[in-house]
């Protein structure tokens, strides 16, 4: 095994000094008045498993450099274009600079041009983990075996995915700005099915720190759900009281985050629009127990310390006690509207309450328990209305107890309506809320209980 272990050597990515050298070199080739260089570099490792064995895996290393060239003057207006390459030698960098400059000269004047930022101060990133960076194919295979072996023993069929990333990002520009940060990400998800195909259960976790992900526990949880969800019965679609597990909440609340664009709101084409070119900042839009923030320096849901333009990120409160506090302003729209640009770092954390899942179930006369959602797609941007289906663990609650598995259901509803119909909230936890099982956005949300959630049809899918 020592041969296999030796593969594990630390993840490859560019150091601060290497990024500085590349940025300096690329900026040195620039012949136009302004330029920005974005560098991304890192290693990705993944192991897939299906039918209780590893099916594929992959390890890759890449570095990409994007050069954005700015041509013009304040008097005549500015033009810009970008070129990306993953060949970071002199020829590759020269060519990227030349291409960006050539395209920028051909672009029309940009009426929304924003000058590059001066050098900025950044807080240190909170999302690097040595354990994640050091996880090698052998370590991944062992984690997978902690799920597949018990599944095999229990006569179940396990499938899943483990994905780790370790890398660095940097931004530099011709005004002397330079930013650099390392980050890691890890996610493990598993779907365990019964051998007869009538039951399916899911569990997953995501964190920048691999040590925070408990593979055997995830496998056991998915197996338990698979067994409990066997032979589901049909129920009438309609409006139900629902206890949502945190993953299901994360699946839906992310869409509120995506809809926070200030410009779309001000232009009259968003849920956050109001007639007369106004927006809903200051309006109460959801239950007063709901507060949603992005905090790049919260170690539980850390994000990047800077944006792609090099703007330092900071804690941003989107909704506080149910009231919209701010929307997402890019630098141009912020200047036009006379506010500060938003730089939230991209993570999402929702406030919770003191109810446990058990209490929520115990207090439900008739309702449903939903583990997670699938194939979520927007139906109507005016109301953030989405459709999608429950999956891998949907149960009926009767008289305060989970009584049986039910068939999956399609819903047509909005996370905004959902957060207006809140009955109870639990303790927020980090979830794996991306549909494809990648690391996705860092999301921390509570389990919740909601009334009148709108299910519109039944599915035979297990």
């Amino acid at each position: 095994m020592s041969e296999l272990r030796s593969l594990g050597a630390a993840a490859r990515y560019l150091s601060r000094e290497e990024c500085e050298a590349i940025a300096k070199q690329a900026l040195g080739y620039v012949t136009v008045p302004g330029a920005r260089v974005n560098i991304g570099s890192g290693s990705r490792g993944n192991t897939r498993f299906a039918v209780n064995q590893v099916s594929t895996g992959g390890d890759s290393f890449d570095t990409t450099v994007t050069v954005t060239a700015f041509v013009g003057s304040d008097a005549d207006g500015w033009r810009s274009a970008s070129s990306t390459t993953n060949q970071v030698d002199e020829a590759g960098l020269r060519q990227a600079v030349e291409t960006a400059e050539r395209l920028a000269k051909l672009a029309p004047v940009d009426p929304e041009f924003m000058p590059e930022l001066e050098p900025q101060q950044y807080q240190p990133a909170q999302n690097w983990s040595e354990a994640t960076a050091a996880l090698d194919p052998m370590g991944r295979a062992e984690a997978v075996r902690a799920i597949t072996a018990p599944a095999t023993q229990g006569g179940l069929v396990s499938t899943g995915y483990l994905d780790t990333r370790a890398g660095a990002n940097a931004v530099a520009n011709s005004r002397g700005l330079f930013a650099y940060a390392r980050s890691t990400a890890a996610v493990l998800t598993t779907t365990v099915r019964t051998a007869d195909g009538t039951g399916s259960g899911w569990a997953g976790a995501s964190h920048h720190d691999w040590n925070r992900i408990d593979a055997p526990a995830l496998g056991a949880r998915a197996a338990e759900k698979a067994r409990a969800s066997r032979n589901p019965v049909a129920i009438e679609p309609g409006r139900y009281t629902v206890v949502f597990e945190p993953t299901a909440v994360g699946n839906l609340v992310q869409f509120i985050g995506n809809a926070l664009n200030a410009r779309a709101a001000d232009e009259g084409r968003s849920f956050f629009s109001k007639p007369g070119g106004k927006n809903k900042i200051g309006d109460k839009v959801v239950d007063e127990r709901v507060t949603i923030v992005s905090d790049p320096f919260d170690p539980e849901v850390a994000g990047s310390p800077f944006t792609g333009e090099g703007l330092p990120t900071r804690r941003t409160t989107w909704i506080e006690n149910g009231v919209v506090k701010t929307l997402n302003y890019d630098r141009y729209w912020a200047r036009k509207q006379g506010v500060s640009p938003t730089a939230s770092g991209g993570s999402l954390r929702m406030s919770g309450g003191s109810s446990s899942m058990e209490e929520m179930i115990a207090g439900t006369q008739r309702g449903l328990l939903v583990t997670r959602f699938w194939y979520l797609r927007p139906v109507d941007q005016r109301t953030i209305l989405y459709t999608g289906l429950t999956r891998d663990g949907t149960f009926l609650i009767e008289n305060g107890k989970i009584t049986r598995a039910v068939k999956n259901l399609r819903f047509n509803d909005s996370p905004v309506f959902m957060l207006n119909n809140l009955e109870a909230l639990g303790t927020p936890v980090r979830v794996s809320a991306s549909e494809d099982g990648g690391p996705g956005q860092a999301v921390m949300v509570p389990p919740i209980k909601v009334r009148d959630f709108n299910f519109t049809s039944l599915s035979d899918a297990v």
Binding site: E3, V54, D59, Q87, V157, G160, W374, Y375, G437, S457
Partner: protein
């Protein structure tokens, strides 16, 4: 032009490596690939061939019973505009290689952007060692269906105009002119874009194949938004009747964006005053610009063999078309009018290639014949699972050529080819189907779409909805979506367009796999009528 350019790159790259402290020792092969806008690498290029052999030898030495290498250079260009402004003008080039190795019946895969001799040998060993680690859990070892090796293959998408040779000013002007035409016709907002891809890939395997292909894909698109005068409503019209295609710049030219923009804008405005649909059951007349997506989601995905076998259960899902032994030649998927074929050869289609990503020359194959399910989409690893069925049917155990990886950094796996609904024998079209319908809804363009993980229950929106009464269109509807259960829906197909009404729709970014990879496929379709489908109203008050 090769040598001088190569010499230049080789020298300067070494200097750059020394400068940055990166361990890059460029080989001549890497330099050959790096020729900026030069011709694609040729299978005759001894450097590329030597590099490929080095990789395959290193993998074999490390214990691989089979190995393949893909050396890719993908170039993309995207232009994005809104109203009178260019929002983005981006050129992207990524180059690297990926090596797949089979050891003890398990796969390993490793990839790197550094196309050097040392790195290729290191990555080949890494792939083989990863395969060894993965083999610790192997229950059923991978067996590959036979393939006829192609020692010197070349293929190129037949295009008229290489999009990368067309001046950017012209592209920008075209988009801004189209935007102006839309604004003049009543759109409040308009977004337009063009996206071009050139994928150059060299494939070599221990089976003796060596194949070089150059593939082009082009996508022009526009979205119009209309806002009501009182600011209480907005409606969009995506011009997705212009499908992405496996063509060159001629596809943009032939899309006539400037000429069509006023119509699309007017349709967005009309949607503001369209009547909200009454919920209920209707006969649906579906245009090919809409139906392609329903075919994609409800027919093409569930007939992927990896899904049926449970390999995608953790993300894309499994399939109701399973288990194979119970459904092959037995499952009545839809009405007798339904004939579905897989291919990678239709001219202009997104999936067209000479060989797939494991060196298999694809052939057309029937998936559904007269409504009966007869075959799955397969790769070399998957075809042997169907050996018994193929033997009984008198067919060879052979991959259908459905292997694809989105870039050098991703492992290849089963991806759908073009999956098309074949025309009926009677020459009839859109207008004939409407004229034959007493009470129904005609739908044009694809919209919101969602389907469960076994592909039973789906919900589809669209771009334009028209009410049909007494064989005539009587007005526009809005907030329409239909919900369906796949076998019932396809069983209700009772009228189908003829050969002249056939056209290609397509998905540029179909996601599957973990890590999720995108695939581009076309779906040929004809206008079709489905009876008594459940329609819901998606409009709600904020």
């Amino acid at each position: 032009m090769g040598t001088t350019r190569r010499e230049f790159v080789r020298t300067t790259s070494a200097a750059a490596a020394a400068l940055t402290g990166l361990a890059a020792v460029p080989s001549t092969a890497r330099a050959a690939l790096a020729a900026a806008d030069g011709p694609a690498p040729s299978p005759a290029d001894p450097d590329i061939r030597a590099l490929a052999h080095l990789a395959l030898d290193a993998a074999r030495t490390a214990g691989a019973s089979y190995a393949d290498i893909r050396i890719n250079r993908n170039r993309t260009q995207s232009l994005f505009t809104r109203e009178r402004r260019v929002q983005g003008l981006v050129d992207n080039e990524t180059m690297g290689f990926g090596i797949r190795a089979l050891v003890n019946g398990a796969w390993g895969f490793a990839a790197s952007r550094e196309i050097t001799r040392d790195e290729v040998a290191r990555v080949a060993r890494q792939a083989a060692l990863q395969a060894k680690a993965n083999s610790l859990t192997i229950v059923r070892p991978v067996v590959l269906a036979p393939v006829t090796p192609t020692p010197d293959g070349t293929w190129r998408t037949p295009i008229e105009i290489d999009p990368f040779t067309v001046a950017v000013e012209g592209k920008v002007a075209l988009l801004l002119d189209a935007n102006a035409a839309a604004l003049k016709a009543g759109a409040r907002f308009v977004n337009s874009s063009m996206f071009f891809l050139r994928e150059e890939k060299t494939f070599a395997s221990t089976d003796g194949s060596f194949i070089v292909q150059t593939i082009y894909r082009t996508q022009p698109s526009m979205t119009m938004t209309a806002v009501s005068k009182d600011g209480t409503d907005f409606q969009t019209r995506q011009a997705n009747d212009i499908a992405p295609m496996g063509k060159g710049f001629e596809h943009v030219r032939d899309a006539h964006l400037v000429e069509n923009a006023p119509r699309w804008a007017d349709e967005a405005v009309q949607k503001l005053s369209a009547r909200p649909v009454d919920v209920g059951r209707y006969d649906l007349v579906l245009h090919p610009s809409h139906l392609w997506l329903t075919v994609h989601e409800s027919v093409a995905h569930p007939t992927e063999l990896d899904r049926a076998l449970g390999y995608e259960a953790n993300y894309a899902g499994t399939s109701f078309v399973a288990p194979p032994a119970a459904v092959l030649g037995k499952l009545q998927f839809g009405s007798k009018l339904m004939n579905i074929r897989g291919d990678r050869s239709q001219p202009g289609s997104l999936s067209a290639v000479g060989w797939d990503d494991e060196g298999v020359k694809p052939e057309s194959f029937d998936i559904i014949r007269n409504g009966l399910f007869v075959d799955y989409q397969t790769t070399r690893e998957q075809a042997p699972y169907l050996a018994d069925y193929y033997k009984r049917a008198g067919k060879p155990v052979r991959s259908h050529g459905c292997s694809y990886a989105q870039t050098w950094a991703d492992v290849q796996f089963q991806r759908m080819p073009n999956v098309s609904l074949l025309p009926g024998t009677k020459e009839q079209g859109w207008d004939d189907l409407i004229a034959a319908t007493d009470r129904g809804i005609a739908i044009i363009g694809d919209g919101s779409f969602s389907i469960d993980q076994q592909r039973y229950n789906a919900q589809f929106g669209g771009q334009l909805f028209y009410e049909i009464k007494g064989g005539r269109i009587v007005g526009m509807l809005k907030d329409v979506a239909y919900q369906m259960r796949t076998p019932e829906f396809w069983g209700s197909l009772d009228m189908i367009g003829g050969p002249k009404s056939y056209q290609l729709g397509g998905a540029f970014n179909d996601g599957k796999g973990q890590p999720s990879q995108v695939n581009a496929v076309s779906h040929g379709c004809v206008p079709s009528r489905f009876r008594n489908v459940n329609v819901i109203n998606t409009g709600r008050k904020a």
